[in-house]
Symmetry: C2
Subunit: 661 residues, 2 copies
Amino acid sequence: MFKWAKRLVVGQPLRSERLGETLLPKKLALPVFCSDPLSSNAYATEEILRALSLGGLALLFLTPWIAASVAVLLAVVVASYRQTCHAYPTGGGAYAVSRANLGRNAALVAASALLVDYVLTVAVSVAAGVDAITSAFLTLKPAAVLICLFFVAVLTLVNLRGIKESGTVFAVPTYGFIAVLFLMIGWGLWRTSSGHAPQAESASFGIAPVHSAAGVAVLLLALRAFSQGCTALTGVEAVSNGVPNFKAPKSRNAANTITIMGGITIAMFAGVTALALIAHVRVADDPAQLIGAPAGYEQRTAIAQIAGAVFGYGTAGFLLVQAFTAAILILAANTAFNGFPILASILGHDGYLPKQFARRGDRLVFSNGIVILAALAGLLIWVFDASTSRLIQLYIIGVFVSFTLSQTGMVRHWTTALQVTRDPAGRRRLHRSRLINGVGAALTGVVLVVVLITKFTHGAYLVVIAMPAIFALMKAIERHYRRVGAELEPDPGGMVLPSRIHAVVLVSRLHKPTLRALAYARATRPDTLTALTVAGSPEDVRALQGEWAQRGIPVTLTELEAPYRDITGPVLDYVADLRRRHPRDLVVIYLPEYVVGHWWEHLLHNQSALRLKARLLFQRGVMVTSVPWQLTSSRADERVPQQPTPAAPEPAGVGGRITEQ
Amino acid sequence: MFKWAKRLVVGQPLRSERLGETLLPKKLALPVFCSDPLSSNAYATEEILRALSLGGLALLFLTPWIAASVAVLLAVVVASYRQTCHAYPTGGGAYAVSRANLGRNAALVAASALLVDYVLTVAVSVAAGVDAITSAFLTLKPAAVLICLFFVAVLTLVNLRGIKESGTVFAVPTYGFIAVLFLMIGWGLWRTSSGHAPQAESASFGIAPVHSAAGVAVLLLALRAFSQGCTALTGVEAVSNGVPNFKAPKSRNAANTITIMGGITIAMFAGVTALALIAHVRVADDPAQLIGAPAGYEQRTAIAQIAGAVFGYGTAGFLLVQAFTAAILILAANTAFNGFPILASILGHDGYLPKQFARRGDRLVFSNGIVILAALAGLLIWVFDASTSRLIQLYIIGVFVSFTLSQTGMVRHWTTALQVTRDPAGRRRLHRSRLINGVGAALTGVVLVVVLITKFTHGAYLVVIAMPAIFALMKAIERHYRRVGAELEPDPGGMVLPSRIHAVVLVSRLHKPTLRALAYARATRPDTLTALTVAGSPEDVRALQGEWAQRGIPVTLTELEAPYRDITGPVLDYVADLRRRHPRDLVVIYLPEYVVGHWWEHLLHNQSALRLKARLLFQRGVMVTSVPWQLTSSRADERVPQQPTPAAPEPAGVGGRITEQ
């Protein structure tokens, strides 16, 4: 039943050979790897405006300067990652680069940051995508959390089925988003130049300052606005991760793709910010800050307000902007559904996460990672009420931790390379590369500190707690696996064969399963064979003895007292005693077990045998053998050969019969 | 940890020998067996008033007539059960009597009724007891459900510990209740006769009729009031159940106790009803019906209003009435905690309920029955918001079903006895007995119909659904056990010993657990021994083969392909194939298993072996042997002898070493 439902939703299992890689030309690699950084434009500008609005309208004049700083930072990071593409043609994620250059601990810090980041990418992108939808249809606002969870569920199912990344599926929303945004920017700027500058619906509102906008406070607000604007940088490292998927020349194509992406992002970001200023878009963290807003006014996203001002609400242009924004954001969330499970599988393979993460499911995807990612992202969306601006507070720290580590690793990489390079031209190139990555490392490091300071109290402390916790957990898991591995390492001396075998058959009643267990135990020709029963009541024991004698069973029946009615204790004591008397021998316990076909049948049969089995496994020198008896109900869907016909001749000297008269 | 907490709450296990019976003199038997019927006086009168109030004040004149009918019915039932005490000195519960005289199906109907009844006894008695408490302290009313659940939990724990029924514990609340109620009745009547008749706080209220009080409606309301008044009869059969616990002459003492109980109950019921009429107690199903009640008026129970009118609120007399009422009601709930688990254990023993119910727990009590009873009663209290009057609607049906069946059974019993008795004096006695039980059966049968008609739509339909459902469930369980029993019955021909043994050791990696499994499997000297591995990836297989060869392991390694990465399928196919080729042989699968000490360690180790084991047990002619490897963490609290010293000499010809170079 469950199986059938699973097949329907997830699909038939796939053969391992079908795991292959498709090499992507640049024009398909761009949508596949760049949807995440490009989609950041959906919220980056708005986040700057939001932060500055805390100081009232007075601070909005800082917007272009902050946007320019973000653009410069983006350019530096892009330049840095171009280096990574060249240096690590097999994929240069922050984990791989840190591991190669900075050692295990730094790599694990990067991994913790990346794991947190992937979860937040899903949460933020889905929340922002749903913002785009609810900004177009304001009546859907109250259902935002539900819609978010629906999209997370859809992404989970799609990824559990496993998607053949055809590239085309990615191309439409990504190129659509680029096209429609540049169209909006162009049309808006043209209208401005022709004297009909677009005006946002909120252009006339005032904004009540929450913080004083003077002295140090201005600096802090500006830094905070810059931090929030840095969301434009998220996802830049995706290309460097995906170098192996590019067509040859891989590194070169990847580097060029990252440059193109950087150019588009910067242009788009600049355009959107310019239009937001021209159209006087007003957004505030708390709608109550807005002065002059009509009663019941619901804030739309900055992009929606701009599109509304440029094209008019409800027009095809407006709806296309919202539709493509939502689409590219959901697509960006999907990239995390690729990244997280792969990283978790590498960590699982390296022994830092449970090994299950390294196992591919029925459909050749890492199902465990997908499910965990979806659960965590769904939880965050639910806890933060699907609020993009609150989720974003958690987002940047992890991004900049991995940026900084990755760039620092690259500096180390070039330094090492310099030590073995003698050729002057090569050394010059290496020096230049190291300079670029050094600047990148320094800048992203500084931004990391700024982000930490300005966002700590706004929710980022959660990430500051989560990352070390994940780090510690991964270390603990690795220690556990290492300890177990050492424990299981075979000794050069090998294993001593036990001298003799004592078979003990547990008997509760004299029925077919017991007879089968006795027959099977006898067939293994043990050195001693005991039938062991635990006395329920004196009458039960007498009845069993009577039947035993009457059937003439050629095995002695040993009774144990159970003064506390619990059968486990006496059996364990008996076995421990046997082991004490014969420490070099092996004890094999035979447990007759019912096999039932329906879960509810378990409720009707005492499971004391299972409890006993679990406890027996803790004893050394003991093997526990289940002798199954398949009840009719369990055979419904089995095609195995039935019991051999009793008429068949038996080989002499080996066979024999237990029981009868 | 869990074990330690359990010991603290439930206590140390008790030895089976400590199960014994204490014989009770009449003066202790009365409180032990009669707390349930006596405690019904706490709500019976009020229920009559409530039902009549639906027709407004106009119908209250019917109260004495209805109370008188209930008293007559009670007298008849008491007379009937005196007969049962004489006829069934080993205990004459409805199940036993029906089973002996009316066959299995009738007995199962009685059992279903009794099971439902016990649950409702707990729910109603606890709810009514808490009513007594909240009537004394009105501020506790909003917490009624919580207080009820607290008492249910306390009763559960007390009964899980097992109580030595000392009798004295029961005597204080029961005799205290009787004394204080008669004191109240006497004092109230004396005040009335001296011209200072007590007046209830609600005496001045009017009551708005909900139903019209004319024609057929009057009859229906009167019948409904009668049905509700019949709650005074609940628990009468307890004495006939407990005959074996009486001092000799058992039957006679039991019969006299039941008569004394009947006398006290009738007197108390009549007195309380008289005082309720004298003091003009007004109670209504819906407080909104009360006309002239002050704002925020909270209804107290009828008994509380009478006690308040007679003694004055807050006086010692009032508080004693409430305290003893609460105490005897909780005690009455406790009787169900004795009755239900014992009945369930009998049904479990007879195969109508899961056998676990027939098993005594650590403290010699039937723990499973106690827990189930508490859970069901707690659920009812929670669903019905601890409302006594709503719960009572469900209560009476089961009681009268078992009365009717029991009395009918007794008629059958005397008829059978008449067939073998020739002595005229004896026949006369039998005829008289049969007449008494016949009247009882007829009357309770009629009341059952009345109850069904008047209460069906008020919640009783739940019981009408539940009882047949329980009946059908018990029949199904019995059928299942019977079918399994037949399936397990040994054939006279006995069991065929398998000809040869094929040992298959499952290998995932070459570590100590694998070597141990190989050593143990070899020690059993099977006819064939195969090491089986399922290929994860070609590299893994090559690495394993390399190690295998390098260590010179004298067992061939067989590899299976796993195109879908699932190891279960290929292994099952391999085993099925082996069985097909050797249908007369036995296949023994050896599974190396880790034994871990902490639950979280399970998360870190792939459990595919467990899944495989569960599936293998469905194959016939297959035994599954777990070869445990105890990780250090699992040995914390084990005192078993460790691995034998490898230096010890080995017996020649049997031992040997696997592996090494």
